[in-house]
């Protein structure tokens, strides 16, 4: 018997006993003690805080490289109907309400807030913050109640309305119908030491409008950029402390 298995067995035994004796109450107390199940179980592992800066001056309206790359990398469902298509990253066009003003284009994605309202409202703690600050959805646990979609001010979350059939990238799981999905900062690629797909595509296209890196590392490009140019997050007035910054809007 492996060590892990023994642990699992012990857990199962405890679970059965606890289940008999009002499991919800027990879990509740534990959840309060932990400050919510949403927090990752191994926060000590890293002090990394992944973040992103988007330079709206460099991003052009025609370019769709980041959205296409994301769709392919993460199997984001596309049915050709705007009501149901998944969007982990989308391009928006902003026009100031002034006569003859220049419009800007920029990508919108999950801002991986430090205070994520989606995580606060999730009734089963399926949304959680990973040790490196990435807000993720445990699709194995999501019940599809869509409270998080109502609570997210960035409209960063989409729901799987229909069973998507094809894999564009077999190495990344797709989603079954009936759960909520969103940007993960390509956590699977970060774990392999690679950049998120959108950032890679943006660099390749030559626009280089996205800077990605560790917000806690003083040597990183993103750290220096933020220190010098102080880009702003979207709707910072809400106090969510987003980790995606924009300059040039």
């Amino acid at each position: 018997m492996t060590d892990m298995d023994r642990r699992g067995l012990l857990k199962a035994g405890i679970a059965v006993l606890a289940g008999a004796a009002l499991a919800p109450g027990v879990t509740l107390i534990r959840a309060f003690a932990d400050g919510g199940e949403g927090t990752s179980s191994s926060p000590s592992a890293s002090k990394i805080r992944w973040g992103m800066v988007i330079d709206a001056n460099k991003c052009t309206e025609k370019c769709q490289e980041c959205t296409n790359a994301c769709r392919t990398e993460n199997n984001v469902p596309f049915f050709g109907d705007e009501r149901w298509d998944g969007h982990w990253i989308r391009k928006a066009t902003l026009t100031p309400e002034i006569e003859g003003a220049r419009s800007r284009s920029l990508p919108l994605l999950c801002n991986h807030c430090e205070n994520p309202p989606c995580q606060h409202v999730c009734p089963v703690a399926a949304t959680f913050t990973r040790h490196d600050g990435i807000v993720m959805i445990d699709k194995h646990r999501c019940i599809g109640c869509r409270y998080c979609m109502a609570a997210c001010p960035y409209k960063a979350r989409t729901y799987v309305f229909k069973q998507p059939d094809a894999w564009s990238n077999p190495d990344v799981p797709k989603r079954d119908k009936g759960v909520v999905e969103k940007c993960t900062f390509c956590a699977h690629r970060l774990d392999q030491g690679r950049l998120p797909a959108c950032v890679e595509a943006c660099n390749k296209s030559g626009e280089k409008a996205m800077i990605f890196g560790d917000l806690n590392d003083p040597k990183s490009e993103i750290y220096k950029y933020i220190r010098e140019l102080s880009p702003k997050g979207i709707r910072e007035d809400m106090g969510l402390k987003p980790k995606v910054y924009y300059s040039g809007i």
Binding site: M1, T2, M4, D5, G8, S40, S41, S42, A45, F128, R130, H131, D132, M136, D138, K139, H140, Q163, W167, P170, D171, P173, K174, R175, D176, A187, H188, D191
Partner: protein
């Protein structure tokens, strides 16, 4: 025989048939005195025949390893390891010839394959 005893005999026969129905179904589908059916698995070629844990252990507990790995990796943020489902396809090249056979045999429909791709 009176009507009542006929009805009683029919009832008794029906009750006994109901009790024996599963046996009759399986015997009709497979034939008596034949070796019981078992899933024929196509094992990975070229490997050393060893999975991440001994075969007997995997047979009974692979689902626990997968669920455990799932929670450690998705929620704990640990790196992918040999217990994660994405690693299975390194050896088990065809799901239809391996995973599906036993699952169909035992009447199990795991959720994994709605999202995770195994060739």
């Amino acid at each position: 025989m009176s009507r009542d005893s006929l009805a009683a005999a029919a009832l008794v026969a029906a009750l006994l048939a109901a009790a024996a129905a599963p046996t009759l179904y399986t015997a009709a589908a497979n034939g008596l005195f034949k070796k019981p059916p078992r899933p024929e698995l196509v094992l990975p070629k070229g490997g050393d025949g060893k999975c991440v844990e001994p075969t007997d252990y995997m047979r009974a507990n692979h689902m626990k390893l997968l669920v455990n790995a799932r929670d450690r990796i998705v929620r704990g943020g640990e790196k992918l390891d040999k217990y994660h489902i994405e690693g299975c396809k390194n050896c088990h090249a065809r799901r239809a010839e391996f995973c599906d056979r036993c699952h169909a045999y035992a009447g199990v429909k795991p959720e994994c394959f709605g999202c995770h791709y195994l060739p």
